[in-house]
Symmetry: C2
Subunit: 186 residues, 2 copies
């Protein structure tokens, strides 16, 4: 028994980090358990001590992301003005896109995950609720489409070469400005 119950770099966590990197680079479907095992320095069978199936690995890799998105919405609900809610949602999504960009890109774009989450029914519900929260129950189509372009373009914009000369703060600011323009909040 360890005297330190806090999270260390246990085998499981290391596997997840390796898997996420490969998923983001090659796509989930193209990443075999053999690839993950090789990269992690274990054998394929060794993975099965930690996980029963590949899907279990996938879901565990994306778990932090799947939790982070509703958390953003909950924080936004605590605000009373529309402006504050918009900023909380846009800012929260930008944080995720910038600092967990691998996971965010996989979550938003990988076809394997789309199927695994059942055509993303849960994702769609979260997005509907979040959209309604910041745009109101009956927003004009232009604004809704602007928001759709923001969420769909965020992962790509976050890893665009145009970001490289900017520091962290400028990156957040630039992406926030994109969102505000699309939602006509500037």
């Amino acid at each position: 028994m360890s005297a330190v119950p806090s999270r260390r770099r246990t085998g499981r966590d290391q596997l997840l980090a390796v898997a996420l990197r490969l998923f983001a680079r090659d796509g989930i479907q193209a990443t075999s358990l053999q690839d993950i095992a090789d990269e992690a320095g274990v054998t394929k069978a060794g993975l099965y001590y930690h996980y029963k199936t590949k899907d279990e690995i996938v879901l565990d890799v994306l778990r932090p992301l799947l939790d982070a998105l509703p958390a953003v919405t909950r924080r936004a609900e605590a605000h009373r003005t529309r402006t504050a809610r918009v900023d909380e949602v846009l800012g929260g999504l930008i944080e995720i896109a910038l600092y967990e960009h691998s996971g965010f890109a996989v979550l938003m774009q990988d076809p394997y995950l789309t199927r695994l989450l059942g055509q993303q029914e849960s994702m769609r519900q979260w997005w509907d609720g979040t959209s309604t929260l910041i745009l109101g129950p009956d927003p004009d189509p232009q604004t809704r489409i602007g928001l759709a372009m923001f969420i769909n373009g965020l992962a790509g914009a976050g890893r665009d070469p145009a970001m490289t000369p900017l520091d962290d703060r400028s990156r957040r600011q630039a992406l926030l400005e994109c969102g505000r323009r699309l939602l006509r909040c500037d």
Copy 2:
């Protein structure tokens, strides 16, 4: 010899249509030759009369798209004012995203294709050139990132539920408005 040399629904074309639909729905890697053959009503071996490899099918499916993007840029180069060039590029990309949306989404997002095109070196070059054409040689980062969000978000926004109530013209208009806002052209 046929009296009608024009394009009919030959076996090859039908295979491409089937393949594109499956690629867009499940991703390229998750779509096996068996899947395509089943859907097209032939056997797996039958595919190999038309194509030597799966990659050949993939590239042939995406060929119209890979040709359409540079064509947009060439049309834009014919204009002299920046405004006209911007509208030609944005409008051209919107046309593709709306009317060849399956192919466009696959082209922009599928990890299999990214690898097949060699980390998309050719795509990156096209995008650099197009970006420079409409933004000038040294655009401010905010505008470049806005353009990145547009191209990356276009496929997703084009198939967002918010599009359904709109007719074709309104859809084009809404997406164009997104682009103009991101580029501060309104």
